[in-house]
Subunit: 179 residues, 2 copies
């Protein structure tokens, strides 16, 4: 599986059940959300602007997409958790299974971020992102075309300690799917 | 990493934080438990008996161990969840990274079970077990020597549908560790 296949498999609307383990306190957080992943054109203005702000030639972008989510956490039921972000894969010219992932809003900190991704031999997508005060590591893999799992870790910036570990089960909403 | 290294890395006492996603209902279950993993001798009577009941030469056993757990689920807080099981790896003579795993008590059904394991190039232990009415798939990997993650899936016996997906963060309890 290369990045094009991985991104195309992800297009559509997903119902996500997510558990966050706050490790220092042994605390559990539960989030139910809807995630929508939709393709963007290579010539989309937001894509070109994100490439330029990272000093990357927009022609290197491959399969950019928008991810939007809306959900509810049991930590604060009165407020819904929602957001949207643009993600732009920049494949490594020498390795079709690896590259950079630009995004206009990060996961651990809400600032633009550049992650490094690679796909393992069994089709798992692995993304490492360094922030100023933290490191994020994500693994995403498909069990079947309509079901995928995601494990996300937030580590201290030195990378030694894991602060939170979270797990998402994502089921494709066939009725709302665009693919 | 081979099975010997994986099992040796697992010896000790672990504090586990586990989330179970019951997918059909979008229900979350939370379990806090203590897991102890201790080596057994190759000549341990229970190991020999488990091999014989599976018609396997006990001399093929490598690094057998006992796993015991005790915890509390938020599904039934009045009752503690506890158990113990003996696990016996039987490495494949032709492939040091794969083999069978015998256990005297299964995960999806409480009957003896034989699973098939393999270790991926990045050191993830993957175990597949077929039961009469279900299939279980487990992935376990270490983030560092004192922290490991486990993803367990219970599928329908045909293997197409995922019934539950669970995620455990396991932190070594240094004070009680035997290694």
């Amino acid at each position: 599986m290369d990045i094009a296949q991985f991104v195309e498999s992800s297009f559509g609307c997903w119902r996500s059940q997510r558990s966050v383990h706050h490790l220092a306190f042994g605390h559990f957080e539960q989030v139910i959300s809807t995630i929508e992943i939709a393709p963007l054109g290579d010539s989309d203005e937001a894509v070109i602007s994100l490439c330029k702000s990272n000093n990357i030639d927009p022609q290197r972008a491959s399969h950019p997409f928008r991810m939007s989510w809306e959900g509810e956490s049991d930590w604060d039921e009165s407020e819904s958790v929602q957001g949207t972000t643009i993600l732009v894969p920049i494949p490594d010219p020498d390795d079709p299974k690896a590259g950079q992932l630009l995004r206009d809003q990060g996961y651990a900190e809400t600032i633009p971020a550049i992650g490094k991704y690679h796909l393992t031999e069994d089709g798992t997508f692995i993304l490492l992102t360094e922030y100023e005060r933290a490191m994020a590591e994500e693994k995403i893999w498909f069990l079947n075309p309509n079901f995928r799992l995601r494990v996300s870790l937030i580590k201290t910036s030195a990378g030694s300690g894991v602060v939170t570990a979270s797990f998402s089960s994502e089921i494709r909403s066939l009725s709302e799917s665009k693919s």
